[in-house]
């Protein structure tokens, strides 16, 4: 019986260690705009940058989309060249993949990050404090 418990205990530790290690090594963090601007000298390689699209900042020139994102404190201008997801719009959270050129971010991959709010058209509106903006 004691052998069983030891075996279970060791197995649990192995699974916990394995999953956390795997997630740590393979999960790509994105930087918020403030974090990125703080360490902008070290941003020589490709990075992921996340933030909310600033209202009325989107302009399209040929295949490129120009816009700015913010985390509420700082802003970064983006030049995006690539597939634009359908839900890309003002105030939406996005995660961009690209490189910094001075303070300009050149991105070629975009994911739209939806928040955890689900508000229906005719249902009761969620009325708590506005956390996202």
């Amino acid at each position: 019986m004691k052998k069983n418990i030891l075996f279970i205990f060791l197995g649990l530790i192995l699974v916990i260690f394995g999953s956390i290690n795997l997630a740590n090594n393979n999960t790509v963090y994105y930087f918020t705009t403030s974090e990125a601007l703080e360490e902008i000298e070290n941003m020589n390689e490709r990075v992921k940058l996340g933030g909310f699209v600033i209202k009325d900042s989107i302009t399209k020139i040929n295949t490129k989309t120009l816009f700015s994102i913010t985390d509420g404190n700082t802003e970064i201008s983006i030049i995006y060249d690539g597939y634009v997801p359908e839900l890309f719009q003002d105030n939406m959270g996005v995660i961009l993949d690209g490189v910094f050129e001075d303070e300009l971010f050149l991105a070629d991959n975009m994911l739209v990050k939806h928040d955890n709010e689900y508000i229906s058209e005719d249902g009761e509106v969620y009325n708590a404090k506005d956390y996202s903006k």
């Binding site: 279970i8 649990l12 597939y83 997801p85 359908e86 839900l87 508000i119 005719d122 969620y126």
Partner: protein, 223 residues
């Protein structure tokens, strides 16, 4: 079988007529499939965990049947979660699968672990031995659930954080979901729970027959 199709029919009805999130549009209705499915999968694996421990302590075939039946149903619901989530990801994020996301990868591993649990039972014709081995997987497997639950907080990535067990809910007492969406989500949970119970009954019968044949070889159908 008939009961299962009736439940699936009602499930599709609530998805079809259910309200949707105004920003995401119609694709947000996948919520009524994705979220209850993963909750049921967690629930099923928890029952597998409990009965695996029971089986390790007391080798009663009934406990093993119950553990296996729940793992099988859990696997079905994990598959539904992964597929529906992938479709939602394509429609919302713009990608079927994001390899850098901890929650997605860990859920895929959860699927593989319980696939391993079920397939480990066919490695050896000696049911007493395989049942014992698989019950250890049933015990280890459970730890993945809290890790998956907290993965969206520990590793900042694309998957949104929890809505119902969220900071907003703690702060205001209301989850950041409209009441009608929440109601339909609850209905979906009721339907998936019933569906899960039917699956468990079905899979338990299969396991009971396997045990019966193993313990009383003379009862086996003559070939």
């Amino acid at each position: 079988m008939k009961k299962i199709s009736v439940l699936v029919f009602f499930w599709s009805i609530i998805v079809y007529f259910g309200p949707y999130d105004t920003t995401q549009g119609l694709s947000s209705k996948i919520l009524y499939i994705h979220v209850p499915s993963v909750w049921i999968a967690y629930f099923a694996y928890s029952i597998t965990f409990a009965y695996s421990i029971k089986y390790i302590l007391n080798e009663d075939p009934k406990f093993d049947s119950m553990a296996v039946a729940n793992a099988k149903s859990g696997l079905v619901f994990t598959a539904i979660t992964l597929i529906s989530g992938s479709i939602w990801g394509k429609l919302t994020w713009g990608s079927w699968w994001v390899w850098g996301d901890a929650r997605l990868n860990l859920t895929a591993i959860l699927f593989l672990v319980y696939l391993g649990y079920i397939s480990s039972r066919s490695f050896n014709p000696d049911l007493l031995r395989t049942a014992k081995n698989s019950s250890y997987i049933g015990v280890f497997g459970i730890i993945q659930i809290p890790i998956i639950h907290f993965s969206v907080i520990w590793w900042r990535s694309i998957h949104q954080q929890a809505s119902i067990l969220s900071q907003e809910t703690l702060a205001s007492g209301n989850p950041p979901i409209s009441t009608d969406i929440l109601l339909i989500l609850g209905l979906g949970l009721v339907l998936t729970t019933l569906l899960h119970l039917l699956f468990v009954t079905l899979f338990r019968k299969i396991s009971d027959i396997e045990w019966e044949n193993y313990l009383n070889p003379s009862n086996r159908a003559k070939i």
